[in-house]
């Protein structure tokens, strides 16, 4: 039993760090634009298929899926941002309308993914990211997990550095704090927001690269589940703070791994129960103002 618990805890930390990366793009876009990217999970799914195709058809290392995700995010993200986001922000209820609109986008992406890739689950040979297992405290996990965790930590650290050290990151934080004031101080809100939007999609796509490994496979229908899970994670953590998302990811990762280890048949409930419980016990303070004043 002791070995099992250690396995679950260490696995949960690794899994959780990876899921911080899964959630962080949604957090970034909401934090900067107050727009809910309900197609978040579908963008992760696209990243997964990108890595799958690079690996299967071109024989490349799936890690090349990361630059591909960035390129894809630029190509899709910029036009998408300018086509819908400024318009949504002028509407009477940007949050709810973006929620519905991006739900539509999610359906479009899912349908196109079925056209392009087929509806089947696709998995990758485990050895593309290293064939061995790496152990900690006597608990072994596949190399692919460690690579995913390394990339997650680098990406989140990089985002933190962007916020803390760069001029654009500073402008982004100003927008998160107060959009109108940021505009008044001469920040080009649309340009900075568009960059954050593209970054959010790129982070989602990059996370997707590891989905075939950590979730076993990728298929067009995994998006909604990933979006809901991401929601749970960023609601547990706190908004706009990348470290908050890491906390959320860790809670989710540990919860899932402990359940999988000890009550496997109920583990699929973890993100949903976490989400409902968290929004009910701490509806405010976690993700901005979630409570109606009525």
């Amino acid at each position: 039993m002791v070995g099992l618990l250690e396995y679950a805890v260490i696995g949960g930390i690794l899994y959780g760090l990876f899921f911080s990366l899964i959630g962080i793009g949604l957090n970034l876009i909401f934090g900067v634009m107050r727009i809910i990217n309900l197609a978040h999970g579908q963008f992760i799914m696209l990243g997964g298929f990108g890595a799958y195709l690079l690996s299967r058809d071109l024989g490349l290392n799936p890690l090349f899926g990361i630059p591909l995700a960035i390129a894809g995010a630029i190509v899709i993200g910029y036009p998408l941002y300018y086509a819908v986001v400024p318009r949504l922000q002028k509407s009477h209820d940007p949050e709810m309308l973006s929620f519905i609109l991006f739900f539509g986008i999610a359906q479009i992406i899912e349908a196109l993914a079925v056209f392009g890739f087929g509806a089947d689950q696709r998995s990758l040979p485990g050895d593309a990211l290293g064939a061995g297992n790496l152990g900690v405290l006597g608990q072994e996990f596949p190399d692919s997990w460690w690579v995913a965790v390394l990339v997650s930590v680098l990406a989140i650290g990089g985002l933190y550095g962007y916020f803390a050290r760069t001029k654009l990151g500073y402008a982004t934080r100003a927008i998160m704090a107060d959009r109108d004031e940021a505009r008044a101080t001469g920040i080009n809100v649309d340009r900075v927001s568009a960059i954050a939007f593209v970054m959010g999609l790129a982070l989602a796509g990059a996370a997707g690269v590891f989905v075939p490994y950590l979730l076993g496979s990728v298929s067009p229908d995994i998006g909604t589940g990933l979006t809901t899970t991401s929601f749970a994670i960023i609601i547990i953590g706190s908004l706009g703070n990348p470290l908050g998302t890491v906390v959320g990811g860790l809670v989710f990762g540990l919860g899932t791994m402990l359940m999988q280890t000890f009550y496997a048949s109920w583990s699929n409930l973890v993100p949903y129960v976490l989400l409902v419980v968290i929004v009910l016990i701490r509806p405010s303070g976690l993700l901005g103002k979630a409570v109606r004043h009525a």
């Binding site: 309308l97 519905i100 539509g104 986008i105 359906q107 349908a111 109920w266 009525a294």
Partner: protein
């Protein structure tokens, strides 16, 4: 007050009754008509909540599934007449809605996503193999001893009329005027003397009850079903898309939206589901950007008052 009275509502209800009583004699595929009515009911039920309070229940299917299971379990374990079991399904969903009542404290998107999560929880619990003895787990339930396509068709029609009647009441009554006020500004509505929380909860329970009744009748009509047949997220999605397309906050918008898009789905969607998914995905985007009040608002813009 623009006093429209009860007449438009009565006209719509009578028209629906006549149409769905005659159609099975003209068009042989009663199962298709039943499915279509089911979606009109669900779309109208979702409209009750979303159109009149602004809360979009992404997990609306949870109430449908809960009704299906509650009804079936009553059929299996009691000697009650089936109609009573269907009503029990509606009550079961209302009980779930009471348990989930605190979700109404959440605003917009948080409510929607938490409601979605709640419906997923119900699905995973019901379909869990550990509960096979009660719920049938992944294999679902079988109530074929009460199979009765005619009676279940008429029951669904009665629920359709009930849902439409409720929407008409919300549209034309003082209660509905209060709902409109609180959707536009809950604080001012409270200062105008409206018990915002009570009104919102009543609508929530009515909306859940409609889905529960529909779920129970649907289970009765199928008589054998897997959990995903009554809990698939697709049902919520269809109800949302149909309602948005027709125009929420009206009585006839959801009827038009659900009937027309369901026919389209039946024409292309069943054989070519991705094509239909692509179509309604694009439809949602276009509606939000260009026609947020649905196709019925095309008439409103021309000065026609859509009921």
């Amino acid at each position: 007050m623009r006093d429209r009275g009860a007449w438009p509502g009565i006209v719509v209800v009578v028209l629906l009754a006549v149409v769905f009583l005659i159609l099975p004699h003209v068009y042989g595929n009663q199962s298709l008509l039943f499915q279509m009515m089911t979606f009109v009911v669900l779309t109208q039920g979702l409209n009750l909540l979303y159109g009149f309070t602004g809360y979009l229940p992404f997990g609306y299917v949870g109430f449908f599934g809960a009704g299906a299971y509650a009804t079936s379990l009553l059929v299996l374990h009691t000697d009650l007449p089936v109609i009573a079991c269907v009503i029990g399904g509606g009550i079961g969903s209302i009980v779930i809605a009471i348990i989930l009542g605190p979700l109404l404290r959440l605003s917009g998107a948080y409510f929607s996503i938490a409601n979605l999560a709640a419906s997923q929880i119900m699905f995973f619990v019901v379909s869990n193999g550990n509960l096979s003895k009660i719920t049938g787990g992944p294999y679902g339930l079988k109530i074929d001893r009460v199979y009765a396509p005619e009676a279940s068709y008429l029951t669904m029609l009665a629920i359709l009329l009930l849902a439409t009647g409720l929407a008409a009441y919300f549209r034309a009554s003082r209660f509905g005027l209060g709902l409109r006020a609180m959707t536009q500004d809950p604080v001012s509505a409270a200062m105008a003397g409206i018990d915002v929380v009570r009104q919102r909860v009543l609508v929530w329970l009515a909306s859940a009850g409609i889905a529960g009744l529909a779920g129970g009748t649907y289970a009765w009509n199928l008589s054998v079903f897997y959990p995903d047949a009554v809990f698939t997220l697709q049902i919520s999605v269809f109800a949302i898309v149909f309602a948005l397309f027709g125009g929420v906050g009206t009585v006839i918008g959801p009827i038009i939206g659900a009937a027309s898009l369901y026919l389209l789905y039946n024409g292309i969607g069943i054989s070519f589901p991705q094509g239909f998914e692509l179509l309604y995905g694009a439809l949602i985007v276009l509606l939000v950007l260009f026609l947020p009040n649905g196709v019925s608002s095309l008439l409103t813009r021309r000065g026609v008052r859509v009921f």
